[in-house]
């Protein structure tokens, strides 16, 4: 059920080269408390269980859980986002680099400071202070 939940909130996107969250080892500390909440909400909505719903209904249910059990639901989702957006495969696909920032760093090209001409031409704007 955890994988279905993860694929509901963070499905893969082949076009962008992004894996689904279930393809990444994600630890959700509060999952054992959250899973029954999802099933309970599914039953209250007339369904059998979270797993028995189609994808759009599952997503709607997750959103509903954020309203009903905000701290728990948001905590679980944030944990999933944290794991997903610090995974090398995801960072690579985003163009953020699959290695730590240090030591490679990033290149930014030199600037052409003629772009400051209009600012310079206006002349001083600081306020003279009488001695």
């Amino acid at each position: 059920m955890k994988d279905v939940f993860l694929d509901t909130i963070l499905p893969g996107d082949e076009g962008l080269g992004l894996p689904s969250a279930s393809a990444i080892a994600v630890v959700l500390v509060e999952w054992d408390q959250y899973a029954p909440v999802l099933d309970q909400l599914a039953i209250e909505a007339g369904g059998e269980s979270f797993l028995a719903l189609d994808a759009p209904s599952r997503l709607a249910l997750v959103e509903k859980s954020r309203r009903k059990q905000a701290r728990l639901a948001n905590g679980v989702i944030v944990a999933a986002l944290k794991a997903y957006y610090t995974h090398p495969q995801v960072l690579h696909a985003l163009g953020a680099g699959a290695v730590p920032p240090f030591p490679d760093g990033n290149f930014l090209e030199d600037d052409d400071w003629s772009i400051l001409e209009p600012v310079f031409e206006r002349g001083p704007i600081w306020r003279e202070v009488p001695a």
Binding site: L94, P100, G105, W126, R127
Partner: protein
């Protein structure tokens, strides 16, 4: 009892500059006591793929989250803006953005010019040589010739604007507004034995490259070479008053809990805008029931924190906006000086911030519901990441004695010393300024082609600049220390950090705070012996 000529309390922006300046005198024993630990750049978050996660842990700027050995509790329940800091060797400079503009000449004369705040007992021009000296020590990049300032002498080449910065610059130019590349304490080329910036981005978690001018890599190596004895993990609990009306030394606890007394001819406080008043208040005794140097009752009062507004826009193009030093790109001081037509006194800086890194983008988008979960998630994320620009409106905060720091006996540090309680409310002038700044930030982001997606003020977790809590002045009734940072009535006790500020200006404080430290220490040094 062990004895020093000078004890410096705190090793941050100002403590480091003080230790360096005072140890230039030959033959003096200078000891610096720092309650936090030394950090190791080899283990900074930027050395790990999951670096963003540590911003919510040991690299957080919130001491209540970080809970490191040197941290003390800060109760922010009575303020819309919570205080931030870093307690360790280098103080706040370990995490700061290194945005390094100076105060303006008018900042020192707000009462005479605009009828608000108070005039400082010194001028911009008196501080000028110290600004320059400090910028050389810290390694400051920028461009000379800024029409918003009196002339700077020289700076390292400016930090690159990147595609996002250029876009914003075009927006400012289209409106005919002032902008200028950031003044940044960042090595843009090899300087003082340190490497050039590699545009890692996460300056706010510590610079593993050593390019950012945090004082552990600028002032401290020189101060240690000059013989300063630095003791980390040593928390000063009280200043000890002698019967002669002079401070005799300090009592401190070391990392293992051992109690020590250290006698000193001079005590120099650089424990930060919250730490300095905390120590003075905690040094209360039967003779000084309100704390030391507190005849005016102003220790801890006139707290100023630069309330921020934040406006963010998203652009159609990939602007690689998350690349480069996050807090240093460009700034605008178009609205810095007073204009009565705006309906408030004084002004603000528009401080352009680079885009958020991936996790912060995703979490921010999730919390504000701008990036949905489910099938639309990745497209929305792709349309946001590296395409955003932020503007922080840094407003001038006027001094108000009701805004203050108090001791908080209900929350204590690991040695039992009370933490601090912050009592702070936004003034009407500040509210009007933030509203104005928010509108102008919107205007320029739109002029640059962006779509504004977020605008709010005040930003809660933005109390990075803590100022005014032991203000300087000539009148002992309205100030805590004199024009040289010397406590009124206690001839050998000095304060040299941003607690001294009479007004807050509308720029990040460290360039001015450290210039002030050097200025005060020059005065103290003359009392200590012959010039080197």
């Amino acid at each position: 009892m062990e004895r020093a000529d000078v004890v410096v309390v705190g090793s941050g922006a100002s403590g480091a500059a003080a230790a360096w300046a005072l140890s230039r005198r030959p033959g003096l024993r200078v000891i610096c006591l720092e309650q936090g630990e030394r950090t190791d750049p080899a283990h900074y978050p930027a050395t790990q793929i999951g670096w963003e996660l540590r911003r919510q842990g040991d690299a957080s700027f919130d001491p209540n989250i970080r809970q490191a050995l040197g941290d003390y509790p800060i109760d922010n329940s009575d303020t819309p803006i919570s205080l931030a800091n870093f307690n360790g060797l280098g103080g706040g400079t370990i995490l700061y953005s290194a945005h390094f503009p100076r105060f303006h000449p008018s900042d020192f004369r707000t009462r005479s010019l605009d009828g608000v705040g108070d005039d400082w007992p010194l001028t911009y021009h008196q501080l000028e040589p110290y600004f320059t000296q400090n910028e050389q020590m810290m390694g400051v990049a920028g461009l000379v010739g800024d029409p918003a300032y009196p002339e700077y002498q020289s700076l390292l080449p400016p930090v690159p604007l990147g595609p996002m910065g250029r876009k914003l610059a075009e927006g400012f130019n289209a409106l005919g507004w002032h902008w200028w590349p950031s003044y940044a304490a960042i090595n843009t080329r090899h300087h003082d034995g340190r490497a050039a910036c590699a545009n890692l981005g996460p300056c706010n978690t510590g610079c593993a490259q050593g390019a950012k001018g945090s004082v552990d890599v600028t002032y401290w190596p020189h101060a240690l070479n000059q013989g300063v004895e630095l003791r980390t993990g040593c928390s000063v609990q009280k200043l000890l008053m002698g019967d002669d009306g002079r401070v005799g030394g300090v009592r401190y606890v070391d990392a293992d809990g051992g109690d020590h007394e250290l006698a000193a001819d001079f005590v120099v406080l650089a424990a930060g805008g919250a730490g300095t008043p905390r120590l003075l208040l905690n040094s209360a005794s039967d003779r000084f029931p309100n704390g030391l140097a507190n005849q005016s009752g102003l220790v801890g009062r006139n707290l100023m924190v630069h309330p921020l507004a934040y406006v963010e826009a998203v652009f159609d193009q990939d602007l690689r906006s998350s690349i480069g030093p996050h807090g240093c790109c460009l700034l605008s001081q178009n609205f810095y000086e007073s204009d009565a037509a705006r309906g408030f006194a004084r002004g603000y800086t528009l401080h352009i911030l680079r885009g958020a890194p991936p996790l912060e983008t995703a979490l921010g988008g999730f919390m504000t519901r701008r990036i949905p979960l489910g099938p639309g998630h990745h497209r929305a994320m792709a349309a946001t990441f590296n395409r955003t620009a932020g503007i922080a409106v840094i407003s001038e905060d006027l001094p108000d004695p009701a805004n203050r720091i108090e001791l908080d006996p209900d929350h204590r540090d690991r040695f039992g010393m009370p933490g601090v309680k912050v009592r702070y409310a936004l003034g009407d002038n500040t509210k009007a300024m933030l509203a104005h700044g928010t509108e102008q930030a919107r205007t320029v982001l739109e002029a640059a082609g962006g779509k504004v997606t977020l605008a709010f003020s005040p930003v809660r977790h933005s109390g990075w600049h803590v100022m005014g809590t032991t203000r300087m002045g000539d009148d002992p009734a309205t100030s805590v220390v004199d024009r040289f940072g010397r406590a009124h009535g206690i001839d050998n006790l000095y304060v040299v950090d941003s607690s001294l500020f009479v007004t807050a200006g509308a720029v990040n404080p460290v360039a001015t705070a450290q210039a002030l430290t050097l200025y005060c220490c020059d005065h103290l040094a003359k009392r200590l012996g012959p010039s080197p």
